[in-house]
């Protein structure tokens, strides 16, 4: 194990030494803008196995990797719009950007779900080393699993058992680092716009030559709630022999939850109808005279796969008497339609559009 003190004068020497260690499948301890990191060639199985040996226990936690720039990142992960935005605007910096991996790294680097976390450290020496190396290196923290993160080499040497230290080939010592928290992890694989667009485009085309059965321009939440109530009233008798399903489609904050509140109000539901984003599906009981059933409020915002809607019990709710309102239904337009038609349900499409800051246009199509 070699330990080199980093200062401006030996910048080049350190780079050369680090590159030679990385090329031979070795491990380096390096400074970042957060804590000390542990680097190995992310594409070499031998190097990664050695790194796992050092970390001791992994419990299936994926490693993150450091790249020099967006171009290098794009060789290892799918860069969607969210990821591109982060790379262009917020990196380098203490952020780990999680994307779908392309399977170009050694086993154990990507998560078991095939995602990969990428860092561009705000530490020029490191990005230069990675750039010259031409491949990503691991950017995991330089500590044995469950031991404290290292902000100085002294602490690192003190905290790490000798047999683990023996695996390290080079330490780049930049003295005590400022005690900044480890990087913030953000997932960009959620709400992939790509899965929304086909549904939106298809629906827009279908509705283009149809006439809305109901429409309103609303400027307050209350008006949107009322429009929901009017819709419920119009289709009040439908659930007698088939499930009634409202497909609610429109931008964030366009009033989909308000509309659902209106539906619930008309059904005499006293409970507070809140956004189901977190729980995906909320169930309420309604009873009006002899009629009773469930009002089911669904939000697909956090759902990636139609199967997930099945696993929260959507299918079981598709029975006569029930009224279902599904926010972001366009995300799974075809799948949902098929499911509902099969269950003999009636679908009402409600489209929310912004006209300006205070005005929304709401249109109902059958």
């Amino acid at each position: 194990m070699e330990r080199l003190k980093y200062d401006k004068d030996n910048h080049e020497i350190i780079k050369i030494k680090a590159l030679s260690v990385l090329k031979s499948g070795g491990l380096i301890v390096f400074p970042t803008e957060t804590c000390y990191g542990l680097g190995a060639d992310a594409t070499s199985q031998e190097a990664i196995d050695k790194l796992f040996l050092f970390k001791t226990r992994r419990e299936g936690k994926p490693l993150s990797i450091a790249v020099s720039d967006l171009d290098m990142a794009a060789k290892y992960v799918e860069i969607n719009e969210t990821a591109a935005n982060l790379y262009q605007n917020y990196l380098p910096g203490p952020i780990t950007v999680v994307s779908k991996g392309l399977g170009q790294v050694a086993r154990g680097v990507e998560s078991e779900y095939g995602t990969l976390g990428i860092r561009i450290p705000d530490y020029p020496l490191i990005t230069e080393i990675v750039k010259s190396f031409g491949k990503p290196i691991t950017a995991t923290s330089a500590n044995v699993s469950y031991l404290p993160k290292a902000y100085s080499i002294e602490a690192f040497l003190k905290d790490t058992p000798q047999k683990n230290l023996d695996l390290i080939d080079l330490i780049i010592d930049a003295d005590e680092l400022p005690h900044r928290e480890t990087s913030t992890v953000v997932d960009t694989t959620m709400n992939n716009l790509n899965i929304m667009r086909p549904g939106q485009i298809k629906l827009a085309a279908e509705l283009a030559d149809q006439k809305a059965v109901m429409s309103a321009q609303t400027t307050t939440d209350k008006q949107t709630v009322d429009f929901g109530g009017m819709n419920m009233l119009k289709y009040f008798d439908e659930p007698l022999d088939k499930p009634l399903v409202f497909f609610l489609m429109g931008e964030l904050g366009a009033g989909k939850t308000q509309f659902s509140k209106g539906v619930a109000q008309k059904l005499g539901i006293k409970e507070m109808v809140k956004s189901p984003t977190f729980t995906i599906l909320n169930e309420y009981n309604y009873e009006i005279g002899q009629r009773h059933g469930h009002f089911i409020h669904v939000d697909t915002w956090r759902v990636e796969n139609i199967k997930d809607l099945e696993s929260v019990g959507l299918n079981e709710y598709l029975i006569p008497g029930n009224i279902i309102s599904i926010e972001w239904a366009d995300k799974f337009l075809d799948d949902l339609r098929e499911k509902i038609v099969k269950a003999g349900g009636k679908i009402i499409n409600v489209v929310f559009t912004y006209l300006d800051e205070n005005t929304r246009s709401l249109e109902t199509y059958e």
């Binding site: 935005n85 960009t188 709400n191 904050g253 809140k274 796969n305 696993s311 929260v312």
Partner: protein, 377 residues
């Protein structure tokens, strides 16, 4: 037999599979499955994956929690489990696992409301009996107000005493944590929104941070009390007259403001740092405004207890803390690892349910315990 009960607590209400072991109020071990931690950090909550992950994890998380606490399952006195609120199919895994344990080991079952866990997380003591509320000191902190803020909840709870709770204010639409996620989506900076928006807010210009925090000279015209700062983001529900929250209007205001800013600036970073700071300000002002109202209405309370994942946000805790201290009440924030969902808080809630004899012994009572996804406090 004067010994404190040995409690095993399970929480599977959402992403994490967590199991903790407590001796009385002391957490001996608290294990959060790293596989689901990974799933939360790296994949978001996908119900089917959540269920599968819980099912795969719960067995080994259970064993690990026993091992780290250095106890055997035979020694346990009570099995506590979250039965709501939460994701139905995730709750189910924990409830079934707990029932099986209870039958197999012939233990007593303590069903726990997840929100009571958040409410009482500040009462947790560590292995050595240390914590912010000392032994037999708990009666001195009630009546108390709880401010419970998470991805799914935003509520003010009046706790007249242990086990005596009343929700006196809550969100009428989105939860605070949800607002963070959705505004992060608009900024296109990934999920979850809380940590990344907080990181961006940390880079806000000093002039701007000072202005929204009410320090230093204001550079723009003096903002109206309903406005969180220069961008004009509204502080929600200032005139509602009650103690309810609403973050849906703020979300829409953010969307519009961003559309406007994007036409006026070339890069998001020209404004996004200050914007993130102001957004957090709008949330924390709304929380503190309503809490202040609750404090005025309930002068008898002795302390304010905060809980839930959003209480990880330093700006929010700072503002709420300052408000509470200015009123001379005591302020409690759980230790970092007990703010987001964890089983330690389920264990502490169970401890107080046990002291009130709220647990089940009979087979039929146990059988009747079922998940309640929309359970209220």
């Amino acid at each position: 037999m004067n010994k404190e009960p040995l409690i095993l607590a399970i929480d599977t209400s959402c992403d994490d599979t967590s199991v903790a072991v407590l001796r009385g109020r002391c957490v001996l071990s608290s294990v959060v499955s790293s596989q689901t931690e990974l799933h939360k950090k790296w994949g978001g909550v996908v119900p089917d994956i959540a269920r599968r992950a819980h099912q795969e994890n719960i067995g080994h998380v259970y064993l690990e929690a026993l091992k780290r606490a250095r106890v055997t399952e035979a020694e346990l006195d009570f099995i506590a489990v979250t039965y709501g609120p939460g994701l139905a199919i995730a709750l189910e895994v924990g409830v079934n696992f707990a029932k099986e344990l209870v039958y197999r080991l012939k233990k007593k079952l303590v069903p726990i409301n997840h929100m009571e866990g958040h409410m009482l997380a500040s009462l947790i003591l560590n292995k050595n009996g240390k914590g912010s509320v000392g032994l037999s000191e708990e009666d001195s902190i009630f009546p108390a107000l709880g401010l419970l803020i998470s991805g799914n909840h935003t509520e003010i709870v009046l706790a007249k005493g242990l086990g005596d709770y009343e929700v006196i204010g809550e969100t009428v639409d989105d939860a605070a944590g949800e607002a963070f996620d959705k505004v992060a989506r608009m900024l296109d900076i990934g999920y979850p929104g809380g940590p990344i928006l907080t990181l961006l807010a940390g880079r806000a210009s000093k002039k701007w941070s000072d202005a929204v925090a009410g320090r230093g000279e204001r550079t723009d015209q003096k903002p109206l009390p309903e406005i969180a700062g220069r961008f004009g983001l509204p502080i929600p529900m200032m005139r509602s007259g009650d103690m309810n929250f609403s973050f849906s209007g703020l979300k829409t205001a953010c969307l519009y403001k961003m559309k406007d800013l994007r036409t006026r600036y070339t890069k998001d970073t020209d404004w996004s740092y200050d914007f993130a700071r102001e957004f957090i300000n709008a949330i924390s002002r709304s929380l503190s405004f309503k809490l202040k109202k609750a404090l005025k209405l309930h002068p008898e309370i002795k302390s304010v207890i905060i809980g839930g994942g959003v209480s990880n946000n330093i700006y929010i805790v700072r503002e709420i803390g300052a408000l509470v201290r200015s009123t001379g009440k005591r302020f409690f924030v759980p230790a970092l690892k007990y703010r987001s969902d964890n089983a330690g808080m389920i264990g502490i809630a169970a401890y107080y349910n046990i002291t009130r004899k709220k647990y089940w012994v009979e087979g039929e009572e146990i059988l009747a315990v079922d998940r309640k996804p929309m359970l209220h406090l």
